[in-house]
Symmetry: C2
Subunit: 336 residues, 2 copies
């Protein structure tokens, strides 16, 4: 079996760290790891496979001899460095929003649209965390019942914003418990004991960029004919996004058929037994690979509709794991 030299760009971030962990845990066939960061990160070290490896600055020349570069360093870094990395001969799998809607860039969830990888020309985009978990759950339902419309409300963890937001929530808990004034710098308002209906910036139509990503990426990955309406909300939760998903379909829905399809869908764990009080929640899905699905129920307010509740670890399946799975799929398909 071939082995690959893998770079991780943005290695000191929350997703970068999770990428290293995921590569290790899944025993990705690695011949060498190259941790890359900003100039100020240079000289810091990360642990990988029991060894300490120095972080180098990501720049022109960094990608020579590298086979696969996993990027999670923000859109600006990706816009600048991904083409350089590609030109230096490696395949880029980019976790930022920079390339997702570029027509020449496949946007891939391996359980949903792996064949899109066949068209890649050196840069592949990892979808938004909220989109990934929603579409892993909806793919088998779309195959069965043809989804016409999705109304989704999200319940998102602070780790989507990175380590600084995790620290902010942690600090606010400590400030609360010690009776100190609660300070903030990452979010516009206190996130502890609150819920903020804003993720990313607002666009001219009043939707946030996060909400818009869920619409556009669903069209690119699953089906451009599906109507999507999203509300994205940040919660005082460390890990795992949850989603209340309502779908309207062309065909009649049978809940038993839906449940069986979800139970046998790769990447999905069905936790759905209301009689025993069983349903997914963020602390259940933390550090897990699967997309957890539950609370399946028919929606009688439309001709053919149903509700479901979808929970997944935003740093794993929502980011690092999906990126590593894309790399694994490239290897399986012999297109790297």
């Amino acid at each position: 079996m071939s082995k690959y030299r893998v770079a991780v760009v943005g290695v000191l971030g929350a997703v970068g760290q999770e990428m290293l962990k995921t590569l290790e845990q899944r025993e990705f066939p690695i011949s060498g790891i190259k941790p890359l960061g900003t100039a100020t990160n240079t000289g810091r070290a990360v642990g990988f496979a029991g060894e300490s490896v120095s972080v180098e600055q990501a720049k022109r020349g960094s990608f020579k001899g590298v086979d696969i570069a996993l990027f999670s360093a923000g859109a600006d870094a990706s816009l600048e460095l991904a083409p350089i990395a590609r030109d230096e001969g490696c395949v880029v799998i980019d976790n930022s929003a920079a390339w997702r809607m570029d027509d020449s860039v496949p946007l891939v969830i391996p359980e949903v649209n792996p064949d899109a990888l066949k068209q890649h020309s050196g840069i592949i985009a990892n979808p938004n965390c909220s989109t990934i978990q929603m579409l892993v759950a909806l793919k088998p339902l779309h195959d069965l019942f043809r989804i016409k419309r999705i109304v989704v409300s999200t319940y998102q963890a602070v780790s989507g914003t990175g380590y600084k937001a995790i620290d902010e929530l942690e600090n606010q808990m400590r400030q609360y418990c010690s009776g100190d004034p609660i300070t903030k710098s990452v979010y516009p308002c206190q996130i502890l004991l609150n819920a903020l209906p804003q993720i990313d910036v607002f666009l001219d139509n009043g939707y946030t960029k996060e909400e818009t990503k869920m619409v556009e990426e669903t069209h690119k990955i699953l089906d451009p004919s599906i109507g999507v309406s999203a509300t994205a909300v940040r919660l005082p939760v460390f890990r795992c996004h949850s989603e209340a998903v309502n779908i309207e379909t062309e065909r009649p829905i049978d809940l038993g058929t839906a449940a069986r399809a979800l139970a046998s869908q790769r990447g999905v764990k069905l936790v759905d037994d209301f009689r025993r009080g069983e349903y997914p929640y963020p602390l259940m899905a933390s550090d897990k690979d699967d997309v957890f699905v539950g609370r399946l129920r028919l929606d009688e307010s439309v001709k053919h509709g149903m509700n479901l509740w979808v929970v997944a670890d935003n740093l794993r399946k929502g980011a690092a794991l999906n990126a590593v799975q894309i790399a694994e799929t490239l290897i399986e398909m012999n297109i790297i």
Copy 2:
């Protein structure tokens, strides 16, 4: 102006305490207050209008000479005691679910369906907290655009479960900060740093009672022809429920018209300027009377649709305040 002798049943609960506070703050015309509780509450005292008043046991005979009884002691107590109170000559305004769907009992939000009070025969029901805030926001939109369908996801505070849940969340924060194991007794899972898609018990169709209340009460209060689909979720928030509400209407929606109607609706505070990053959130609405509405935006996934975000203090407008407003409306209408 007449003055009234008012009893508060369940006076030591979270809503009961809020009822006392609301009566004081709104200078309700009271000639005497009668705090009532369970047998074990007897002898405890509550403060009202600067005086300490002893809590008596609520039982047959308690309501003689009382004009208005505000009940918030759970459905079992209401089922037993509300008819007794009525027969002893007082008007009952009941915050439990016991009487809400009884055809002979008006279910009233004063801003939405005050005329239903004219049919009262001694017992009036206060709607569910989640229903109240949703319908205060939707009433002017229904008048303008005729709502056909509502898809709502809730983000609900622990105070809806009462003091013991407030204590549980507070304790879990302290346990987290001190590194102690996190204990629970009120909710089936840790609520801190989590989100639980279960409020109240499950019914046979997989929906919770809370979700079903939002459907049935919307039909009784606003319009039985509206399709309603709800997902109710508990969050680590002390006060204020939030709701992501998606509506589909018969008529075309103009956002400016919608905003103006909401801004002039009694009981609504419109906080909706995404260009300035302004929208409602739980900490903004805590201890406030208004239903806060924001994030108005057209939903292009259906012919006529829009999204909005609705936040209100579940103990005030969601419970105590609405009950006191019902009493005030009875007085205004001269039907007490």
